[in-house]
């Protein structure tokens, strides 16, 4: 796949610099009696080129964390620092624009970057190929299935070609097989482009399969409660015993946490 060749080379800042740094970040929604503390003094550092997975119970603040990093919401306490790097975020809902065709949605970020027509059509087709949707470019979003829409959203996020990629349950609506293929693709793109990825998922094995680290958040208010480094050799397989083993360990920890906060 020629995607990499057609992109402008990124200056290699060397893996290891802190790219995303959260220090005691808090986020409160609403105020007064209606206030809800979604995140409470979260500290987290993601280094250049790292693949970090976030796990946590439903409603614990994972999406909130991503939207803070993307600058969509404002923190209500602490310090957040991403060094002004370009960020791309794939939302939990596909949120495609209904007035654009599938390929139009994928092309949009390229268009905004001023990429020429022929060039961006080519890149969009390549990206659709990656998410295994070539041939669906002329369809409208409402003509796609839920999982297909999510894949288009992924292609759109990749088209942005940002340094930091935030992904909110990107593969939740996909079957195991399609997901495996996309895991491979994502890992390849991440490696080749030296991306920094913050990845939210509910699938622990997925987190272990992909992540350099797996971060566990507690529930309401969200706090970092554990940070598992994943050291298995890549490429990993999701059904390998190593992955399953570490996943089981993390699952136990997660269960204990959820049970403690049972609401």
């Amino acid at each position: 796949m020629s995607l990499v060749e057609t992109q402008t080379p990124r200056p290699d800042t060397g893996r290891g610099d802190a790219v995303v740094r959260l220090e005691n970040v808090s986020k409160q929604y609403g105020s007064g009696s209606n206030a809800l503390l979604a995140l409470d003094r979260v500290s987290l550092t993601v280094r250049q080129g790292e693949f970090v997975c976030l796990l946590g119970a439903s409603g614990c603040g994972k999406s909130t964390l991503l939207s803070l990093v993307a600058g969509l919401d404002k923190i209500t306490g602490g310090t957040l620092d991403i060094g002004g790097r370009p960020v791309s975020l794939m939302f939990q809902e596909a949120a495609l624009f209904p007035w654009l065709s599938v390929v139009g949605n994928v092309e949009l970020p390229l268009r905004l970057q001023g990429v020429g027509k022929a060039e961006r059509r080519k890149r969009a087709e390549e990206l659709l190929e990656i998410v295994r949707l070539s041939g669906f470019g002329h369809k409208r979003p409402h003509e796609l299935s839920g999982g297909m829409r999510q894949r288009v959203a992924l292609a759109r996020a990749l088209a942005q070609n940002a340094d930091i990629l935030l992904m909110d349950e990107p593969f939740g609506a996909l079957d195991a097989m399609t997901r495996d293929i996309l895991h491979d693709e994502l890992e390849r793109i991440w490696r080749e482009q030296n991306l920094t990825v913050l990845f939210v998922t509910h699938n622990v094995r997925e987190a272990v399969r992909l992540g350099d680290r797996v971060i566990l958040l507690s529930s309401r208010p969200g706090r970092v409660i554990e940070d598992f480094p994943i050291t298995h050799e890549r490429p990993r397989r999701i059904d390998s015993p190593e992955v399953s083993g570490q996943a089981a360990e993390i699952t136990d920890r997660l269960r204990a946490e959820v049970a403690r906060h049972a609401h």
Binding site: L72, F91, E93, A95, F97, P98, W99, L112, P141, Q160
Partner: protein
Amino acid sequence: MPIKYPSARAGLEGAGGESAVAEVPEKVGVNPTNDQVSGLDALELAPRSDKGTLGKRIWRSAWPKLLAIAIVVLIWQIVVWSEWKPEYVLPGPKTVFTDLGDVITTGDFWDGVRLTLIRALTGFALAVIIGTAVGAAVSRFAPLRAAIGSLITGLQTMPSIMWFPLAILLFQISESAIMFVVIIGAAPSVANGLISGIDYVPRTWLRVGQVLGMKGLAKYRHLILPASLPSFISGLKQGWAFSWRSLMAGELLVIVPGALSIGVRMQQARDLSDSSLVICYIIVVLVIGILIDVLFNAADNALRKRWGLTGS
């Protein structure tokens, strides 16, 4: 008692359980065949089936209109026959259509129509440009919104007759005075449509736009305008109505040598107490209004189709 869902193919194969349909009618919510009768459902949920030939399609969209016209004309004729009012007060369809025939076969009339339409379209186009600019500016800058947001609707409630003194003051008796009245009548609607559309752009899309780094003009071009298009189009529709009405009033202001505009002709018919001619011009204005509306509806339908009948 099971309901059969007859399908296109099943119909050909023989209607096995057809009679059973009537037996369990209380759960029609899950029965698509029963819901077909409601226009909205049929429109929104049923897949558009065979389109037929062009002629057939035109006929299909035209016959209810023709029927409606026929019914109105019939009622009118019955009222006339009942001699509720003398013929010179309420002339019958025959008289009116004869007059209409006479009127529309004069080249003079078409000169008037052309003049009026050119004015309407120029004025409306300008109103759209101005309204869009103002609407975008108002919804973008909070202080501007606070300052003149309400003024926009306020302006709209001014009867156009009250603008004449100002129009004459600024533009004397000239085409520009008419344009002024038309624009000030229509631009607020266009602006309001855009503002309300922008206000209701789903939050998610705004966030997507922000993530994609949309700003300033690009944001309007690629996100705000397409997302608020439905409301914008309905604002345009209203704006058209306002501009047409203002034009009818405004045309009484300026008489351009050569061709008598529709507004002037209408006023004249009224001045002459020529009921039949008045009704003629009512019909002419209605027909023009309807034709323009058909254009707007075509735009609207294209949009709804593109959007998959609605938002994602």
